[in-house]
């Protein structure tokens, strides 16, 4: 009888439902349940914002807090500060991968030369949920070495799982499954790496996911002026779990490369060094990769002043403008008219920018537990 009485009571606690139950559903259910009614759809699709990529800024307060900024609307400024749900020193944490609202954070304990991650955490900054990844099967020494390796997050719809691929300093490859909370080593992919020029230490740059494939830039760290850095683009196919090398354009005086996704296409940005001012960038170029793997130059950008020190473009906006960092300032740069607007300085506020985008979703890192 009690059940009957309850079942006709019209009250549903929306706060519990929306903020505490739906975030615990697996991704597949979340997608399906958008159909339940319009209220659910608008909530599940864009819980807090507009689907724009955001950046995280960490403040060195006690306890540690973070704020976020909309990459497409710098004018709106940073959000209010929220406390970091896990323990970390701001200068010792970095985002190593990001997908669907989940970011993978690498936490370091020390700042020694051969630093290592003490923990890897999967965190949804929108809901605050996080999960410390299991260390099982990662017992070799170099797994946690920060330098020289790479991470990439992807989703496999066939078994509804989030997976994280890890390439170590020595090019061993491991794959983490969120569903089973465990790592497994996959066939080493030496063949694909044979062609990486590794006379100098090299670094991997942020991965970009397109059509179930992760793309990474792998570049040598500058040796000296007579040996300019070189690079290659590595592609990881999440279906076959194999790496392969894909060709990129060649450059005469390159310095740094990184990848961006813009309107569904891979874009490669490159800076060229100025032989007279080593620390300043002479020009930026952006190239688009088309379906067949051909590259087309989209735009070249010369900063107004040759002494300006721009860091990498963090985001290419829908209108074609670039979000760049200049001496710690967030700048909205119109690359066509060469005009820029400055918004907020991380150096000035002693904040730390975790230079990796994420979007706001309800995807839970604890959906399988």
């Amino acid at each position: 009888m009690a059940e009957l009485r309850r079942s006709i009571s019209p009250e549903l606690p929306p706060e519990v439902l929306f903020y505490h139950i739906l975030p615990r559903l697996p991704h597949k259910s979340v997608v399906r349940f958008r159909c339940v009614c319009k209220q659910w759809q608008s909530f599940l699709k864009t819980p807090t914002a507009n689907g724009h990529p955001r950046l995280l800024v960490i403040s060195k307060t006690t306890p540690c807090t973070f704020r976020t900024i909309d990459c497409e609307a710098l004018r709106d400024g940073l959000t209010a500060a929220r406390s970091l749900p896990f323990e970390a020193e701001p200068q010792n944490m970095s985002i190593v991968a990001s997908l669907d609202g989940l970011v993978c954070v690498g936490i370091k304990k020390t700042r020694y030369e051969y630093e290592k991650y003490s923990d890897l955490i999967l965190w949804n900054p929108s809901t605050g949920e996080y999960k410390t990844l299991s260390r099982a099967n990662t017992d070799n020494d170099e797994f946690y070495v920060c330098a020289g390796g790479a991470f990439g997050l992807y989703y496999t719809s066939s078994n509804d799982d989030y997976q994280l691929v890890r390439v170590t300093y020595y090019h061993d490859v491991y794959i983490y499954s969120l569903k089973s909370d465990s790592w497994r080593k996959v066939d080493s992919i030496q063949d694909a790496f044979l062609y990486i020029p590794n006379r100098f230490p090299y670094s991997w740059r942020w991965s970009v996911l397109l059509n179930k494939k992760l793309y990474f830039v792998n570049q040598t760290v500058e040796g000296n002026l007579s040996t300019p850095p070189s690079y290659s683009i590595m592609r990881f196919d999440s279906k076959t779990e194999k790496f392969s090398k894909t060709e990129g354009p060649t450059f005469t005086n390159p310095r740094t490369w990184w990848l961006n996704l813009w309107f569904g296409c891979i874009h490669l940005c490159v800076t060229h060094s100025n032989p007279y001012f080593r620390d300043s960038c002479q020009e930026f170029e952006m190239w688009r990769m088309d379906g067949g793997g051909e590259w087309t130059k989209v735009v070249t950008y010369y900063p107004l002043s040759r002494l300006d020190r721009f860091d990498q473009p963090l985001h290419v906006m829908k209108n074609g403008n670039w979000l760049m960092l200049k001496e710690g300032w967030f700048c909205n740069v119109d690359v066509k008219t060469r005009s820029e607007e400055r918004y907020y300085s991380t150096y000035f506020c002693k904040d730390i920018l975790l230079g990796r985008k994420y979007i706001e979703t309800l995807v839970s890192p604890n959906q399988y537990t």
Binding site: V16, H20, L25, V31, V36, C37
Partner: protein
């Protein structure tokens, strides 16, 4: 020294007694006790008596800390009906009893995750406000999820 007892009052004005040291597992009650030294009756205007009885049963548990996790799981498992769990989760949220809320919400999520749309609507009494055409469009777009 005798143990201090608090009285909680449900939405439908029923009174429940509980020892203070057990009641303060609820952060909300702990703050109330701190603030005004526990007035005679603490009203809980959003919690009905059936749900409050469950909450009291939970707070009164005598579990060794290492078995507590299993106990909470079993506690919500035995009350597997969605409406009861939703009320329990809401009460645990209001009273700020984190473990109970987490367990109840996890249980509901577990129960509904494999439901069809019709089953979700029925279980949570939600009206479908879409035309069949609109629904089909979404289904086609996200076929893999159905």
């Amino acid at each position: 020294m005798s143990k201090k007892t608090l009285t909680l009052m449900s939405k439908d004005k029923q009174l429940f007694n509980i020892e203070e040291h057990l009641a303060v597992q609820s952060v909300t009650i702990r703050n109330m006790v701190k603030e005004d030294g526990a007035s005679s009756v603490i009203p809980l205007p959003r919690v009905d008596s059936e749900t409050l009885a469950l909450v009291i049963e939970y707070l009164n548990r005598q579990q060794a800390p290492e078995e507590d996790e299993d106990y909470v799981k079993k506690f919500v498992d035995e009350r597997g009906e969605i409406p009861t769990l939703l009320e329990l989760a809401q009460a645990a949220l209001d009273l700020d009893i984190k473990k109970l809320m987490d367990a109840a919400c996890m249980k509901v999520a577990d129960l509904i995750k494999d439901f069809t749309l019709e089953e979700v609507r029925e279980a949570l009494r939600i009206e479908n406000d879409r035309t069949p055409e609109e629904e089909k469009a979404i289904r086609d777009e996200f076929q893999w999820a159905f």
